[in-house]
Symmetry: C2
């Protein structure tokens, strides 16, 4: 079976349709990759592109995208709410199938080197690809933004991994790295007391002693009345979760702990939601747990895997 990786580049343009389409075209026109989605935010002045394919195809598309973004986007004239340091601001690679984290780290280093060599943009390796612990977190690398980076990179702590102590005069610099697939997962509760959702969010997240690969927060969701469907206006508390590595912290475990903690307040789980995309494996793992499925080999026993 073929290796498949996902790539979710963010470019610093969310308003000019022509520029956005010209960048997305670099993905569309590269062999071996499939464009999954792209969306733009005008106030952030930023677009997120999602595609996947063979490692070779993904690297080719990302290099082409880096070149086109550098050609069309000048950070000296960029304004928007979202922090940014480059035309192609960040370019994560995500192992999806038959590809380890270690291999994907290797691909990210090849990609970083190619973007520097072929587009002349200095590269920071981040997340699982970082060359030092203080360079894991994107927010730390990007602090100071485009306007401050030319000065920041002179500090040996912040020399780019490829390109040396400089930035591209208009395209800035780019963070490239491997991260695990992220699943956006919400758990809805039978209460409108947001404090219960906030308390559970604290219990399950790493930051406060919870699961290593959970980031979470509690929100109050207000639903307007829908007269056609006969649904009155109502509110409910929601635990909103980013599962940052479901291979280490699976969905079912977070749901079961949430149920157990909610009982403390006489509250139960009314439903859950996955927002956007998820790898199949995140759901199959939970299914195996609940069905008590033994010795199941998803790669060999799920028919669809023979088509990938």
């Amino acid at each position: 079976m073929a290796k498949i990786i996902e790539c979710v580049p963010n470019i610093s343009e969310g308003r000019n349709r022509e520029v956005i389409e010209a960048c997305v075209d670099q993905v569309r026109n590269t062999a071996g990759v499939t464009l999954l989605d792209y969306s733009s935010d005008a106030s952030h002045n930023r677009s997120v592109i999602t595609f996947m394919g063979s490692p070779e195809g993904v690297m080719n598309a990302a290099v082409a995208l880096a070149k086109k973004a550098a050609e069309l986007i000048d950070l000296n004239h960029h304004q928007g709410e979202h922090p940014r340091m480059g035309a192609l601001d960040v370019c994560p690679l995500i192992p999806l199938k038959d590809c380890t984290k270690e291999e994907t780290v290797e691909y990210s280093k090849q990609l970083g080197e190619r973007i520097w060599n072929e587009a002349g943009i200095p590269i920071f390796l981040y997340e699982d690809s970082a060359s030092a612990p203080h360079r894991v977190n994107l927010a730390d690398i990007r602090r100071g933004q485009f306007e401050g980076m030319a000065e920041k990179v002179k500090d040996p702590m912040w020399t780019p991994d490829f390109g040396g102590a400089q930035i591209h005069p208009t395209a800035g610099c780019t963070a490239v790295g491997c991260r695990m697939p992220l699943v956006a997962f919400n758990i809805n509760l039978s209460t409108d007391d947001v404090n219960i959702a906030k308390a559970i969010a604290k219990i399950i997240r790493r930051k406060n002693g919870g699961f290593d690969c959970v980031k979470s927060n509690g929100f109050l969701i207000e639903v307007e009345a829908d007269e056609e469907k006969g649904i009155p206006a109502h509110k409910y508390a929601q635990v909103s979760i980013n599962m940052t590595d479901f291979t280490r912290t699976p969905l079912y475990r977070v749901v079961e702990v949430t149920k157990a903690e909610a009982r403390r307040w006489g509250v139960h789980v009314t439903g859950t939601e996955i927002i956007g995309l998820t790898p199949m494996r995140a759901l199959i793992d939970s299914c195996e747990y609940y069905l008590q499925l033994n010795e199941f080999d998803a790669d060999k026993q799920i028919i669809e895997n023979y088509l990938l």
Copy 2:
């Protein structure tokens, strides 16, 4: 997304390697299909081939296989334990992806007509494609086997759907039809009393008032000692199930009813097994139930589906 169907032809040769490989080659050499598996049983003198692909590709491969089987297999000289009526004995089509049961019934009729026109083998439509209720069940169609079919087809009740009241002199006739994907699913119990497994099997199967799409039986599984692993010889009762249409009777519902019934005897479910292949959907449906996942669209939200 592309329509994908599966095909599981059975040919009446399970001993002669050259003949088996020549038949399997018809699948291997057809564009648009993927060979998943093939296995032969010498005492049955029969081989089962599993492949999938586009409807067009699958029909082309099945017609090529029917021709090759008719060329190389002479039922006048066939001996084996398994009942059979044709060189290509039975050829089910199974909808896997973006393809309804109704569409697959249509494909099976096209396939039956093509096998008659291009290979001269009379065809019975069976299962969901049957032209009358008494012709749904393969065992009923095949009763009398190859040796009795030339006489049987003269009865208007048993005229083949394509080819009229005759059989091919050496290749007999073939049953072609649509059936839903079948999942072979075992539930293991915390008891060695096989009567409890047999009682639960009766409760859950249609035959005795249970779920419409469940066939099941109870067995005693005897495991030999494994000294290396330190596992002593032991026995346990197993409910062995054929899920004949998981879109109508899902796996989780059978597991939950089995757990509830087992409690009647103070017994619990120790684990489950899926034997062989399953469509992804059979597991995703159960995952949605247990995670209480709302408004989930597997086609749009599971990344791998964009590659199929």
